[in-house]
């Protein structure tokens, strides 16, 4: 167990191995999200690559790790790279998943034991699973060419209205009067 031994107890606690592993995985995901769209960059936009890597490193270790905006900025740099480089759809889908994984892991507390880290990772599974499913669905929608059809538009609008009506909360009914 990490312990503090000074008089005030304010020194930095020694990180656990599980927390270090999570940080390392987050670093890999962050580096991946910055490097993946890099081949499509050109000219001065190449400057985004070292900036993004620096931000990823700063968000995981060092005094700047306390500022949560650093991680958000690193993800923003990755989005800017993708917007400027215009990679293909599979690369964009992978980039979105890398951004999600990095954002989920960069928030991991640093003082977790191995058992706590496993439970914490289990808590992140639904978000990761839903993100993967939606990314796959959007990828399919964008990849499959659909001919424009008025009937298709009407069907889609009807389905949206039906889903909204089904999702609206219902007012509880009045209790039946006793006879």
């Amino acid at each position: 167990m990490a312990s503090t031994s000074d008089r005030s107890g304010r020194d930095r606690p020694r990180p656990h191995l599980a927390a270090v592993v999570i940080r390392a995985v987050a670093g890999c995901l962050g580096a991946g999200m910055v490097i993946l769209p890099a081949p499509e960059l050109h000219g001065r936009t190449w400057a985004l690559l070292p900036a993004g890597l620096l931000l990823v490193a700063a968000s995981l270790a060092g005094p700047a790790a306390r500022w949560r905006a650093v991680g958000t900025l690193a993800a923003g740099v990755a989005v800017a790279e993708s917007a400027l480089g215009r990679p293909g759809l599979p690369e964009l889908a992978g980039e979105g998943l890398l951004i999600l994984g990095y954002l989920l892991l960069v928030d991991a507390p640093g003082a977790m034991t191995a058992a706590s880290a496993v439970r914490w990772l289990r808590l992140q599974l639904p978000a990761a699973a839903w993100g993967t499913l939606v990314a796959a669905a959007v990828l399919v929608v964008l990849a499959v060419p659909v001919p424009v059809s008025a009937w298709l538009l009407v069907a889609g609008a009807g389905a949206a209205v039906a889903a909204t009506v089904a999702a609206l909360p219902r007012r509880p009914g009045r209790p039946r009067q006793p006879r």
Partner: protein, 452 residues
């Protein structure tokens, strides 16, 4: 756990508390803050802000570049936001923090346990020890994840006496995309001063008539040899000094000194309190008072206390171990802020019984304390001063006159001590890092006489 350690000090420590069931239960109890739900103000968690920021940035990029496929970047983030567990979060959290034991001595360990009940995903506890409190076990930041009771444990070691809260614990609760931070404070812990080793060697010239353990100057039925005199009817045969009797051809007997008790009144100068936290002049004074009280109570003497500063308070001299805890509990209140100026002419007779030895622990910084010294000498009280000032005023090295000012201050202190010695008041210097025995050396074998 150190429960009960306050109730069983070592042989060289202060006397143990009276052995009563109520006292033992009180010593073992944990200091607990008033328990009840703690109001929680939920707000967006940092993760929610991050995911939302990235999603908005992606949508903006898609619109500005007219590139709809960029929406693929933000789709996972939006899905993660949508998949977050919803529901009403409790407006108050059932959080608790305890400190055990509720009474201890300086340098002993106190266990702090914080817990948050209820279903939250993650709780990050962070302890903030107070001044002069050291964290000796457990990382300052501990995380509890859902699935186990959310609790954290630390061991703190207070280095200053008093009745105070040792720490505060910040519990940051994360539930889904909401976050709330509550601050928990345990109940106050009574930290008794660590009594330095001392001996009951400071004695007034005139002891009481009560039988005690101090050798008086008058003959009596003690064990200390005090002289030889001629045999008188009624003397015991075993007291005959055969050597003198055979030399002088007349019977002579050994005389022994009487054993008498003493009354000690400890005065604490609370007018001034300077120094670093945990080692201020008042801290040192109370520790010295505890050491002296322990030594004299152990020999069966009566000990009282008078606190100068704020509202004048005193405790009439009394014997017994219970008196030690009364003295210490009175000392807990010496830092009570008050603008009242005590009338030192009205120190009650019960607080200063005749033929009592008065020991004043003072940094000799406040004029009112010096006036009290003068007043006590005029009333014919046997008085000893223990100087508890250990730190000189800081001299700013950049100022050219700083060293000169410091030299003047030292000269002024020397003149003050010389004037007190001239009044017939011994001034002892005590370094709190050592026992009081060393400070008592200059008066070893001497009796403190009252000079009017």
């Amino acid at each position: 756990m150190t429960q009960g350690r306050a109730a069983a000090p070592g042989p060289s420590g202060p006397p143990g508390p009276p052995v009563t069931a109520g006292h033992a239960v009180a010593a073992a109890q944990a200091a607990r803050a008033p328990r009840g739900p703690v109001p929680a103000a939920w707000q967006a968690a940092p993760r929610l802000r991050r995911l939302a920021t990235v999603a908005v940035a992606v949508v903006l990029a898609a619109v500005l570049t007219r590139h709809a496929s960029l929406l693929l970047l933000g789709a996972p983030a939006l899905a993660a936001l949508a998949a977050t567990r919803r529901g009403t979060r409790p407006l108050a959290l059932d959080a608790d923090v305890t400190a055990a034991p509720a009474r201890c001595f300086e340098g002993e360990d106190v266990e702090i346990v914080a817990s948050v009940a209820g279903g939250v995903d993650e709780v990050t506890f962070r302890v903030q020890p107070g001044p002069a409190v050291a964290l000796v076990e457990g990382p300052a930041t501990q995380v509890a994840v859902a699935g186990r009771p959310a609790s954290a444990r630390w061991v703190l070691r207070p280095h200053a006496w008093g009745r105070y809260q040792l720490c505060s614990v910040a519990a940051r609760c994360t539930d889904g995309m909401g976050q709330a931070t509550v601050t928990l404070r345990p109940g106050p812990v009574e930290v008794f001063p660590h009594a330095p080793p001392a001996r009951a060697t400071l004695l007034p010239a005139d002891l009481l008539r009560r039988i005690g353990e101090h050798t008086a100057s008058v003959p009596g039925a003690g064990i200390e040899f005090s002289g030889i005199r001629g045999y008188q009817p009624g003397d015991q045969l075993r007291d005959l000094n055969w050597a003198v009797t055979s030399r002088l051809a007349r019977p002579h007997v050994n005389q022994r000194a009487a054993l008498r008790a003493a009354d000690l009144v400890i005065m604490i100068d609370a007018f001034s309190d300077v120094g670093p936290p945990g080692d201020t002049t008042l801290d040192v004074a109370v520790r010295g008072a505890a050491g002296l009280a322990t030594a004299y109570l152990r020999t069966g003497d009566r000990v009282g206390v008078v606190v100068l500063g704020g509202v004048l308070r005193w405790l009439a001299p009394a014997p017994g171990n219970r008196q030690f805890f009364k003295i210490v509990e009175m000392a807990f209140g010496v830092r009570f802020p008050s603008e009242a100026t005590p009338d030192l002419d009205r120190v009650p007779r019960t607080a200063l019984p005749p033929r009592a030895l008065v020991v004043l622990f003072s940094p000799l910084l406040d004029r009112r304390a010096l006036n009290a010294v003068t007043d006590l000498r005029q009333r014919g009280v046997s008085l000893v001063i223990v100087d508890v000032l250990q730190h000189e005023p800081p001299a700013e090295p950049r100022l050219p006159m700083a060293q000169l000012a410091l030299r003047l201050w030292r000269l002024d202190r020397g003149a003050l001590r010389a004037s007190l010695t001239g009044l017939g008041v011994p001034v002892l210097t005590w370094d709190s890092g050592t026992g009081l025995e060393g400070a008592q050396v200059p008066l070893r074998g001497r009796r403190v006489r009252a000079v009017r």
